[in-house]
Amino acid sequence: MPAESAAAMSHVAHHFENAEKQRTAARLGMWLFLATEVLLFTALFAAYGVYRYLYTSTFSEASRHIETWIGLTNTVVLVTSSFTVAIGLHFATRGKGRLTALFFGLSVLLALVFLGFKAVEYTHHFQEGQLPGRFYTYPEVQGAGASLFFTLYFLITGLHGIHVVIGMTILTVVGVLAFLGKYSPAYHTPVELAGLYWHLVDLIWIFVFPLIYLI
């Protein structure tokens, strides 16, 4: 048996008929998991939707008092990181583990940049008093619903930030394994799944950005 498919066969678990079935199962499992992540955020988006409807003008006003340029930059950064992840996967399918590791590393770096900008933003919010609930002391946007905008802002971007960190961890682990040659054209499912997760993290941000920063 050629060395590559021997390596491929060795990773097939005992309860799977063949590698194809295992791959299908892994992908289906990942998509289902991504669905649960989407629903996690849906709860927050629903809350945002309800309160935006109730306090339309206050929310718009509050939205104008946060730094849109940071949001825009972060969007560009995150989309680029998704692109580099896709390139990393492309190389994995060709068996070029080291290039995969390089591009995953780039994505992690870009994610760090994203988090850096978020840290700057959060610091700014702290200084201005744009904080959730009873900590809200921002004088320029007042009235019913003002603090709610920022409560939801921190909840949504905070939850997203946690997922960015999780994604970074996954990309690092998979990147290191790719560097060590654990994957091949026949078997690179973890690279695929890591990519899927990262694309979801990116996709969620694509929804967050207009909702929080633009409208």
Partner: protein, 556 residues
């Protein structure tokens, strides 16, 4: 279905090399097991302990309600007790017991697979259950919440009691539930034995599959909601606080968006069990396989759109209430389909009134009344009177105890031989069933009447005119408790000293009976090849064989 197992006249054989003693015995091999059967057994043990704890709380509640004033405790303790009763029963028993317990054990075997799709995720699911339980228990021991299991804001965000650990415990338990559901869906899609098309899948699997869909879609929303309550309780972030612009009723919408589908997580696995038991104990194919299979999916789907019937008195608009009311009626139709189909299955069957079947009878009785009272509640105007009274309490206990717990007990007795290789004493089984069914009736029928007469729920003290019915209910609860303890005792005894069962003491044609009892680690030597539906009893001679009979002991 291999003839040699179907008509086994010889002395029942105990499969010596099975999942209980292979690959090894001892704590470590169980703690790190990847075998779905062991994980299923661990879930069964853990959820049974939780059931006992929740049942103890229930007994204490009923004892307190023996007199209109304080009986054995003060109001604060009582409020904590009914909250913990709900939390423990729902999150630690009702949701995981049948799916993660029996589902884990049986699903792969029924599908002809060697394990679930993701065995490590399965083990993680169990440890998350333990972790969630531990966190919640910590909260219980350190004061415990007094909000009711529904955690309505603003009470839950302003109460001084120790709500946060219980919220976090439930949050962690949610992950356990999601991972189990994910595993089952992928297993059903990718690990079916050759020849098992979707119309040959056992009905147990269909219902567990539907349950899993609800688990993965609804649970994350609850997780987020409980987290929001915890954050607001700890830091006053104000999402549900009207003083900061928040809406307390929004919490109710979020909460019930999960918790209504959650009740279908609790009943669908029970229906899964019943579909199997009905066929096995009437030696008959199910009447209307497609109807029963698809109605499970129907319940899962429509069940997502009915949550507003918990909010009829919350100031919700009449238009919304109307939509939720009609959709709630539709969900009940799917249950009606199942009830009629199960009953029709008995027609021209060969019915043996063994313990699992006795529990089926109880299940049927209670599901009809529990379900119909649900329809009555869904008419909105009747709910105005019944909302938050003992009528609702009786309604959901009829379904959760009268149906799900009955089904759990039916499953326990039906699959006891498969899981342990032994049988339980049939006489005691029937005694236990009678005690449980009778006790249940006397506990909860008075509660329907209490609700009618206006007694609200979560009442520590009550006006004297409610006294007699409360005493009746407590008397019933004692009988119910006694019956359950009886079952526990003979089950424990039979684990060690029960007679050997053999691979198929019921002569059932469910696929899981084609393995020896207890099953070997790999479930099957060679994967079975499926050529027909399970539970076909119409012709022994012409029954096509599924696969060569598995040997009780394996040469490897």
């Amino acid at each position: 279905m291999s003839p040699s197992l179907a008509s086994d006249p010889t002395v029942p054989a105990y499969n010596a090399r099975n999942y209980l003693n292979e690959p090894a015995t001892g704590l470590k091999s169980w703690a790190f097991t990847l075998d779905h059967k062991r994980i299923g057994v661990m879930f069964l043990v853990a959820t049974t302990v939780a059931f006992a704890l929740g049942g103890l709380f229930a007994l204490l509640i009923r004892l307190e309600l023996l007199t209109p004033g304080p009986t054995i405790m003060d109001a604060m303790t009582y409020n904590r007790l009914f909250t913990l009763h709900g939390v423990v029963m729902i999150f630690l028993f009702m949701i995981p017991a049948i799916p993660s317990g029996f589902g884990n054990f049986l699903l792969p075997i029924m599908l002809g697979a060697k394990d679930v799709a993701f065995p490590r995720l399965n083990l993680l699911s169990f440890y998350l259950y333990l972790l969630g339980a531990a966190v919640a228990l910590y909260g219980m021991v350190h004061g415990g919440a007094d909000t009711g299991w529904t955690f309505y804001t603003p009470y839950s965000t302003t109460t001084q009691t120790n709500v946060v650990p219980i919220l976090l415990g439930a949050f962690i338990l949610g992950f356990s539930s999601v991972l189990t559901g994910l595993n089952f869906i992928v297993t059903t899609h990718t690990l079916r034995a050759p020849g098992m098309t979707w119309d040959r899948i056992p009905l147990f699997v269909w219902s567990i599959y539907a349950t899993s869909i609800i688990q993965i879609l609804a649970t994350p929303v609850l997780g987020m909601t409980l987290l929001l309550v915890a954050l607001e309780h700890a830091f006053a972030w104000g999402i549900f606080d009207p003083a900061r612009g928040g809406d307390p009723v929004l919490f109710q919408h979020f909460f019930w968006f999960y918790s209504h589908p959650a009740v279908y997580i609790m009943i669908l696995p029970a229906m899964a069990v019943i579909s199997e038991v009905v066929c096995a104990f009437s030696r008959k194919n199910i009447f209307g396989y497609k109807a029963v299979a698809y109605s499970s999916l129907g319940i899962a789907f429509v069940g997502f759109f009915t949550w507003g019937h918990h909010l009829f008195t919350s100031g919700q608009s009449a238009f919304d209430s109307g939509i939720f009311a009609v959709l709630s009626m539709f969900v009940a139709i799917f249950t009606a389909i199942k009830v009629f189909n199960w009953t029709a299955t008995l027609y021209r069957g060969s019915i043996a009134f063994r313990t699992p079947f006795a529990y089926f009878v109880g299940f049927l009785f209670f599901l009809v009344f529990g379900g119909m009272t649900g329809v009555a509640l869904a008419t909105a105007s009747l709910d105005i009177h019944w909302q938050d009274t003992y009528f609702v309490v009786a309604h959901f206990h009829f379904i959760m105890v009268g149906s799900t717990v009955m089904a759990f007990l039916a499953a326990l007795h039906y699959w006891f031989p498969k899981i342990t290789g032994r049988t339980y004493p049939e006489g005691w089984g029937l005694v236990g069933a009678v005690l449980v069914i009778l006790g249940f009736n006397f506990t909860f029928i008075p509660q329907f009447l209490l609700g009618n007469s206006g007694m609200p729920r979560r009442y520590f003290s009550y006006p004297e005119r409610f006294w007699a019915l409360n005493v009746a209910s407590t008397a019933g609860a004692s009988v119910l408790a006694f019956g359950l303890v009886t079952v526990l005792v003979y089950v424990l005894v039979s684990l060690r000293w029960g007679p050997i069962a053999g691979s198929n003491p019921w002569r059932s044609r469910g696929f899981e009976w084609d393995t020896p009892s207890p099953p070997p680690v790999e479930n099957f030597d060679t994967p079975p090849i499926i050529t027909h539906q399970p539970h076909l009893y119409h012709d022994v001679a012409q029954d096509p064989a599924q696969s060569p009979a598995p040997e009780p002991s394996h040469a490897r």
